[in-house]
């Protein structure tokens, strides 16, 4: 087998180059070393500073009022969730207040858990303050990733919603506090409703009837209500509305509750609604639910409040909103969206991190959150969200919103797509009680660790 020298060289070079390229792929996305140098430089600069700060906390005072030259890092979840003006305000106010620099990094939701796993345990790479989804937080409170916030709570003022505080609490200690809440409600096309002679539904049954009627009145492929098959974050509202739950804690054990009669009733209603009113794919998720609406292919969709800004102008005129109605009227408990915020236990600048927390819970910042449509942690500012139908829908939907089980293992359920597959199977027409019993077993296994 003779191979000419040139070919041999060509092959070896190509192979080597390809392998080198392959080797480098893994490390490009998850390298948080950018902030390592700054944080490392900050260490040691803490000592010897004036300690004439008036505010008192449990932490030994490490820094004084003048912390110029120091930098702390804040991780915000999502590329756009916190509006840029709010970020800019924080950076400026933080510098004025402390003399130190605030560096904000935006971490895409999809990378947040993975990057937190890597950065939080590492004093050199950890963000000092981190925003995290309310369902993700319990995963970290139990392993000591966050600083105990008990000493700071009183200074932060009145905060809520209660479910968010519970999510950030482990063993009676608060480690993460609510950052903002959002809520899911129904967006609808007023013109489609009036053309079909329909009123805004006041019960879940009426919603189903209206959605199915709209679907039948529309073209092939038109959805009365756009309801993607794997969209469990909206789907669980039907379980909650009927009084069911995903899983409940009995003693110290988590028990799946999807096969309870209440949950099955909700899931059955959801299944009928999917079959009768939705042309969304069986494996569709909650992303970009406004696309079919913009295309005139759906009369309603359910999404978090900020989806409003993704509806096209031509459609915005007829855009209406209402909170998902309950079984017997009123408002159904929906899945509470939103974030918590915490100080990393490995932060090298806990005093500055606490200063940042105080700023976030200041009246100014809470006002800005509310005015930008993000539910403020301090309920005194909720009314600033406005009084149009969107704000009203958001506020009433949030009133009895619920969270996923506060198990430290919930993140595993999410990353294994258990709920997506569960709703997908129900959308596919499988028997609700059978699938629910099966998934209950799986949930018990996963949630109890």
């Amino acid at each position: 087998m003779k191979l000419s020298t040139m070919t041999r060289a060509a092959v070896v070079t190509t192979v080597a180059a390809t392998l080198l390229a392959a080797c480098s792929q893994g490390s490009t996305t998850d390298d948080p070393t950018d902030d390592a140098t700054e944080d490392a430089a900050d260490e040691g600069a803490d000592e010897g500073e004036a300690t004439d700060e008036a505010e008192e906390t449990d932490e030994p005072a490490e820094t004084g009022g003048e912390a110029s030259g120091e930098t702390i890092t804040l991780w915000l979840a999502g590329e756009t969730d916190t509006p840029v003006e709010l970020e800019e305000w924080l950076v400026t106010a933080f510098n004025e207040e402390t003399g130190a620099t605030l560096e904000v990094q935006r971490i895409p939701w999809g990378e947040l858990l993975e990057r937190s796993n890597q950065a939080l345990p590492d004093p050199d790479n950890t963000p000092d303050v981190i925003e995290m989804g309310n369902t993700q937080v319990p995963t970290y409170t139990s392993v000591g990733a966050f600083e105990d916030l008990s000493g700071l709570l009183e200074e932060l003022g009145d905060i809520g919603p209660e479910g968010f505080i519970e999510a950030g609490t482990y063993d009676g200690t608060v480690y993460a506090v609510p950052y903002y809440w959002g809520s899911r409600y129904i967006f609808f096309d007023k013109a489609a409703f009036s053309d079909a002679g329909l009123e805004v539904p006041t019960t879940l049954d009426e919603l189903s009837t209206a959605a199915i009627a709209l679907r039948e009145a529309g073209d092939d492929g038109f959805s009365g209500l756009w309801l993607p098959g794997q969209d469990w974050r909206n789907g669980i509202s039907w379980i909650f509305a009927h009084g069911g739950d995903i899983a409940v804690k009995e003693g110290d054990q988590w028990v799946g509750a999807l096969s309870s009669p209440e949950s099955v009733a909700g899931l059955t209603q959801w299944q009928e609604l999917y079959a009768g009113a939705s042309t969304a794919p069986q494996d569709g998720k909650d992303a970009e639910a406004w696309v079919p609406f913009n295309n005139g292919e759906a009369a309603m969709f359910m999404a978090p409040s900020w989806a409003r800004w993704s509806v096209e102008e031509t459609k915005a005129e007829d855009l209406g909103a209402f909170a998902l109605p309950g079984v017997d009227g009123g408002v159904a408990p929906v899945f509470a969206g939103g974030s918590n915020i915490a100080i990393s236990a490995q932060s090298q600048n806990k005093e500055l991190a606490a200063d940042l927390m105080r700023l976030i819970f200041s009246d100014d910042y809470q006002t800005m959150l509310a005015e930008n449509g993000l539910g403020p942690a301090n309920p005194a500012f909720t009314e600033l969200m406005g009084d149009d139908e969107f704000a009203q829908a958001a506020i009433s939907a949030a009133e009895n919103a619920k969270l996923t089980p506060a198990s430290s293992e919930w993140a595993a359920v999410e990353t294994a797509s258990v709920m997506e597959e569960f709703f997908g199977r129900i959308a596919g027409g499988e028997d609700v009680a059978t699938v629910a019993a099966e998934v209950d077993g799986q949930l018990a296994d996963m949630l109890n660790g």
């Binding site: 087998m1 191979l3 796993n117 995963t139 494996d283």
Partner: protein, 335 residues
């Protein structure tokens, strides 16, 4: 904990890469052997010194994570351990649990079949393109080369996004085309919901991405097939098939073997494409391959111990699958 944990997260892919790099080092040695033995007599260990940086990089970048991975596979290592709790030694428990897991064997079988189908298709189509390039006139050949280079150069996620749009159930070009060609009603046909159909889409994408590399390498080898041998064969009355079978194929076989080996490794550890498709549709638990399964186990569920054990098993699997080609290559070179 140390920042090295980051490596364990993507552990198995890196491990297989390690093996590949080591093999390549051996190959490089083997390939270069005849040349070097002539030079060595002129003295000097210069050639070995040239290898030092490469070996150092391998030891630091790949050796340490590999050692950590072996250690972790014998430990109970979860999120608590990552945040500082001392890991507990549990002997072979991870392995026992792993081998008793029916889902894991399903993943292994699916991955092997997926790998075999994709490697076969890639090699056939790639070699076919190389032969076309050899025969084609200049302009079409350059066009073909440029388009293949572009598809090879396209970043995976960008390519995946384009493919996702093509296969989109509502707005996808493929459903539209098939319906308009009268091949059936593909309106809102969902390509990802059935596992077999999911793998069909994945195969189309993976093969599309890998063909250029095979085609270019095979083409490079083909241009080196001695003209005189071909001419002699023709004079002796060998037909096209015989010329391929007895002259061309033996000449390009070493190159094809290297490529084949790389393809086996790549298609066995395929990750990005499957992970992406699972993110946009389909049923993840029914479509996991080795890469995504280990990722879900390790990064997703923080079962680093189990994930390490599985990754080591995959490493062994890769060695078994490619070992015979490495052996063949080494033998071919010493003849």
């Amino acid at each position: 904990m140390d920042p090295q944990n980051r490596y364990e997260n993507v552990g198995w892919t890196r491990k297989t890469t390690t093996k590949r790099v080591e093999m390549t080092t051996q190959e490089t040695l083997a390939v270069a052997a005849p040349v070097r033995s002539r030079r060595r007599r002129r003295g000097g260990l210069g050639a070995y010194w040239l290898l030092v940086p490469a070996i150092a990089v391998l030891l630091i970048g790949e050796g340490y994570p590999l050692v950590r991975q072996v250690i972790m596979s014998f430990q109970e290592f979860g999120r608590a351990q990552q945040f500082g709790a001392p890991p507990e030694w549990i002997g072979l428990d991870n392995y026992r649990e792993l081998f008793a897991d029916a889902q894991m064997w399903g993943v292994v079988v699916r991955s092997l079949v997926f790998c075999a189908v994709n490697v076969a298709l890639t090699m056939l189509i790639g070699t076919g393109f190389a032969l076309i390039m050899l025969r084609a006139p200049r302009v079409p050949r350059v066009l073909l080369q440029v388009s293949m280079l572009l598809c090879w150069a396209m970043p995976v996620i960008a390519a995946m996004t384009a493919w996702q749009w093509l296969f989109d159930s509502r707005y996808g070009l493929i459903n539209w085309t098939l319906t308009n060609l009268g091949l059936g009603d593909f309106t809102r046909h969902n390509w990802l919901i059935e596992p077999l159909s999911f793998y069909l889409v994945a195969t189309v994408i993976v093969v599309w991405m890998s063909v250029p590399f095979v085609a270019f390498t095979a083409y490079a080898a083909l241009t080196q097939v001695p003209e005189d041998a071909l001419e002699a064969g023709q004079i002796d009355g060998a037909n096209a098939w015989q010329r391929w079978r007895f002259i061309i194929y033996p000449s390009i076989r070493p190159a094809l073997t290297i490529v084949l080996m790389l393809q086996i490794v790549w298609d066995l550890r395929v990750f990005a494409q499957i992970h992406y498709l699972q993110g946009v549709g389909g049923v993840p638990s029914e479509t996991h391959l080795l890469g995504t399964y280990i990722y879900t186990l390790g990064v997703g569920q923080s079962e680093y111990g189990m994930a390490s054990a599985f990754a080591l098993f995959v490493l062994v699997l890769t060695l078994i699958l490619t070992g015979r080609y490495v052996h063949a290559l080494l033998k071919a070179e010493t003849v």
